[in-house]
Amino acid sequence: MAAMRRIASTLLLLSCLSAQGKPYQEGDVDAFLAAAKAAGRPAIVLFNFDAKSG
């Protein structure tokens, strides 16, 4: 039940983010971080998982 709630909260949050008219970038995370650093902006990354990590 708790796990379901966690998943639901996460998916709901992602839906909220999507509904913002895409105020975010998708993919190419290292270039994204380099750009944020160059602009002097803090950054948030939401990462699922991949085969090479974990």
Binding site: R6, T10, L12, P23, D30, P42, A43, D50, S53, G54
Partner: protein, 294 residues
């Protein structure tokens, strides 16, 4: 609730946001696969905080926040953290690898829920020569690497890398206090998915106690042999209490080096995912052992 919220719009004004999909940022290796990790980077591009997003949202929404506000709370708390991982690494170098600086670095990795732990292990090895005790810094790197390995998805290559690293460390520094301590992660992590642990220990012992071996080499080789025998005896006892269908039964057969039983069990076991290279290795080593005993 699904409509755009002013809070999230405001947040995106202050923070760049990236949904990175299935690629983690460089040097941000994760422990275990989770449905979404949140990573927060400061304006210098350094990792300030990381957490399993679902767990954190669960905690904060229980305090009465809705999901968008809970997310903002999490991000606001994260960016206020006193230091980034990279800052703690710089502090470690500046302090000459002091015990205090190492403890602080370890605590930061713990606060990050293990994100960047493998990177930190590599860092400790890389900056070893800048520490007052370079050998100790290398040993710490191996300990951190072992902890990372033991808290991630089973990874054949990572275990092998750890075994190689510890083996080389003990060979080079048999009389260092950490050499004895590293036997535990060598056995419990590095050899957790090894076929014939006693045989592996004999192989390391032979390497360490070769022609130009010192008394320290021989002493630590003996320690490893004894520890290896203990692991096998314990695993045999556990096997006696298990059913063949139990999880871990095949691994236990392999650890004990029972070639015939391991091969028979492999025949009736479906191999998938992370176990493919491990089962392949067990099969090859069990066949070689049987062939050698004929």
């Amino acid at each position: 609730m699904l409509l755009p919220s002013q809070q999230l719009a405001d947040l995106s004004e202050r923070f760049s946001i990236c949904l990175s999909g299935k690629t983690s940022p460089a040097n941000c290796d994760v422990r275990y696969r989770q449905l979404y990790w949140l990573m927060v980077f400061n304006k210098q591009g350094e990792l300030q905080h990381a957490c399993r997003l679902g767990d954190e949202l669960g905690k904060v929404t229980k305090q009465g926040f809705d999901v968008p506000n809970a997310f903002i709370e999490i991000v606001e708390d994260a960016i206020k953290k006193p230091a980034s991982l990279q800052q703690m690494q710089r502090d470690y170098v500046a302090a000459g690898g002091s015990t205090k600086a190492f403890a602080a670095l370890n605590q930061k990795v713990k606060d990050l829920q293990g994100v960047g732990q493998m990177h930190t292990a590599e860092f400790l090895a890389k900056v070893a020569d800048k520490a007052k005790d370079p050998v100790l810094s290398r040993a710490r790197g191996l300990m951190v690497e072992a902890d990372a390995c033991s808290h991630q998805v089973i990874n054949h290559g990572a275990y092998k890398h750890l075994r190689t690293g510890i083996g080389a460390f003990v060979q080079a520094h048999p009389d260092h206090a950490m050499a004895g301590e590293l036997l535990t992660p060598l056995l419990e992590v590095g050899m957790k998915y090894s076929f014939d642990v006693a045989g592996k220990c004999r192989s390391y012992a032979q390497q360490w106690a070769n022609n130009d071996a010192t008394a320290a080499h021989k002493k630590i080789a003996d320690r490893l042999l004894k520890r290896g025998e203990q692991v096998v005896a314990k695993t045999k006892k556990e096997l006696g209490e298990m059913k063949p269908s139990d999880y871990g039964y095949l691994r236990s057969l392999a650890v004990c080096g029972d070639a015939k039983a391991t091969l028979a069990k492999l025949e009736s076991t479906k191999t998938f995912g992370v176990f493919r290279p491990i089962h392949k290795e067990w099969r090859a080593e069990a066949q070689a052992k049987l062939a050698g005993s004929k």
